[in-house]
Symmetry: C2
Subunit: 412 residues, 2 copies
């Protein structure tokens, strides 16, 4: 039998009624002849509650205990989903991460899946089971302790299962009906995309569009897993939602596929750093050790042996970054005059594989922003995206202006 993976996010299983609705969707696919692997998240709000308890108990928590606590939410949903399917006379059982087992690294709270042996579940399919309900977001370390994959990790679980079982498709059911050209809450003319290339989705995901976890898209791209994002709240046809696929499967597309943004960014500048070969490695090594996720990096031209180094990071990591720089300074690793933090910036990016063959996208972007009187603070580019850092108060305006200028409300 062909295998289908269906993943239901937290809002899709937030109540027993919603679990029932999700189970009905699963039943439809079973009726079509699929053996289905269902990956479930915790009921909406549950993981936050657990994370809150852990944080309140122990601000600098032992990540192994964090994982043991926080993984409980998915276990509950998995059991309830299996029971709901059984009530509908669909043969089903639940699996916790360690039961499959989903083998991961020992990097607690951000573990990577290393292997998913398929024998157990395949054996049960052969005996007539139609649905394996698997708790998402979790696995087991070589030491036999429970691990989690980091927030949003259930998407990654779903794609990893799709890859391991050679699934025909991996359907990600969520609270939106697909991937949009940008967030409809910011730009009402945002349009749902029928298809989007892995590379584009990857940029959008990592740039702050919260539809899919970045790693799940990476994994899907590597293993060529057809990924579909669709709403669990609407009646679905086979054409519903957005298909994330190889670019060869997309016949025609706009030059720019979408506009992503990330509201809570900070721009930090280390002023007058004593420059020497390896100074960047020293600075960003110290930031990395301090748990700071640096995004954009700009270095001004060095003069008289000193330079300014600028980077962006999530605004809630500014304190950590300051701590890391003070520590590096105290231990003599780096030498600088001042560390400036601008905590009121946002990042806006345009993304599209069409940029590879079309020039002028960057120029157009800068012109549009300039026409709106928006000052650009930092620029970075990749083959298929251009990102700028701007004052946070202009973020919505920038998204709307760019959406208009690139005519994203129209199909190519």
């Amino acid at each position: 039998m062909p295998v289908l993976v269906m993943k239901f996010g937290g809002t899709s299983v937030a109540t027993l009624d919603r679990i029932r609705r999700a189970a009905k969707r699963v039943g439809v696919e079973v009726a079509k002849g699929y053996d289905v692997i269902v990956i479930v998240s915790a009921m909406a709000g549950k993981t936050n509650e657990l994370v809150g308890w852990v944080g309140e108990t122990s601000p600098l928590y032992d990540a192994r205990e964090y994982d043991a606590v926080v993984s409980s939410g998915e276990n509950i949903t998995a059991g309830l989903m299996a029971l709901t399917l059984q009530e509908m006379d669909v043969p089903a059982r639940s699996w916790q991460g360690w039961q499959v087992p989903v083998k991961t690294t020992s990097a607690h709270s951000s573990a990577r899946i290393e292997e998913i042996p398929t024998e157990n579940i395949t054996g049960r399919f052969a005996q007539g089971m139609k649905v394996a309900v698997v708790a998402g977001f979790q696995g087991v370390s070589p030491e036999g302790r429970i691990t989690t994959l980091g927030r949003g990790g259930s998407d990654t679980t779903a794609v990893a299962f799709a890859a391991a079982f050679g699934a025909e498709r991996c359907d990600i059911y969520t609270d939106v009906d697909g991937v949009y050209t940008t967030d409809p809450r910011v730009e009402s003319k945002a349009r749902k995309l029928d298809r989007i290339a892995f590379e584009e989705m990857l940029e959008l995901a990592s740039l702050g569009a919260k539809v899919l976890q970045t790693r799940s898209v990476e994994l899907a791209m590597r293993y060529k897993v057809k990924l579909r994002v669709l709403s669990s709240f609407e009646e679905q046809s086979d054409e519903a939602g957005t298909l994330v696929c190889g670019e060869e499967e997309i016949m025609e597309s706009n030059v720019v596929a979408g506009i992503a943004f990330s509201r809570d960014e900070a721009k930090m500048t280390l002023v007058s750093v004593a420059d020497r070969p390896g100074i960047a490695a020293s600075i960003f090594g110290a930031l990395s050790d301090g748990g700071v996720n640096v995004d954009m990096i700009v270095q001004n031209i060095a003069e008289e042996g000193r330079t300014d180094m600028t980077w962006s990071c999530p605004v809630d990591q500014v304190k950590r970054a300051k701590l890391a720089m003070d520590k590096a300074s105290a231990s003599g690793v780096i030498n600088f005059s001042e560390l400036i933090a601008d905590e009121d910036v946002a990042k806006v990016s345009v993304v599209g594989i069409g940029m590879r063959s079309h020039t002028g996208v960057a120029a157009k972007m800068f012109k549009v922003l300039s026409a709106e009187g928006i000052n650009i603070k930092v620029i970075t580019t990749s083959e298929i995206k251009i990102s700028v850092l701007i004052d946070r108060k202009y973020m919505e305006l920038a998204v709307q202006a760019l959406h208009d200028a690139f005519e994203l409300d129209k199909v190519a």
Copy 2:
């Protein structure tokens, strides 16, 4: 190092503050030089919430999925307790049932512990860990699926660990400060017992005193585990609470140790059953298969080949009992004219090992009830207890009158 087992019930870990208070108690014992195994229940209310979800999802649920869902509550508490201890600089980690592993039978929702290998935890103690926090109430079946031990099963987990690790004592922290001569909510003169014999505790536990789970007491008696019941809400000395121990450790005691009661009983009578050898086995076999927990049994003398059979069971099992009898009748296993259910009865019992050597306890009990105008419907006795079934409305009156008559408010 000597090992101590400390078990905290749901109300003792109901909030993060209470977990902190419990952890402080653990810290006190660690400071005394113990290696401590902490057994935790789910936070008060959590298990009921999970059970409610399962029941709502699937009234006739798959017990394997029930166990997978319902065991989550203890996992959460175990992780939070380990984190709390770590915050207090007490080296601790959590263990879920399958990680120890707590090996049980496959009887889901009412599994029995078969073996608790001690190597893992002992090895960690040898490396300097001071506290192993174990999720109570759960284990793993030979098939690798999660099992639970039935409600109140964390007491059994605690005693089983105390037995397996040769613990010096097993302290059960709960919301009452010990075992009383009867429920103080029914009889204000109820007195806390300093010591009680295993056999007495067993009768009290199985008769409805909710302090300890019956199986935990059985297990403690078999393995001679010293069991102490005490409050997690009071400052504790080494003499606090009630010690449940062998009767040889109790110097003197009242003839009657306590009075137990069970409010929600039903009395059922199968009228005019065709009598034949094996009829009792047929009736009670069918009831057992139907999931009815029969308690007292009375058979009237058979006349002309027919007899009346009376039994008691929890009032919420009356429907099941009726169903089982109808089924047995339809399939010709038994033949009767009528099944009468009296759903307004309660059971009251006096318990004491002193009864073995003192006569007249039963006579006194019946006289006291008669003086209060209370009609006795069914009587059963064992070596150390006498139970009667009476109208539910007289239950409190009966308990108070018996408590007075046997002078349980006074120390022997």
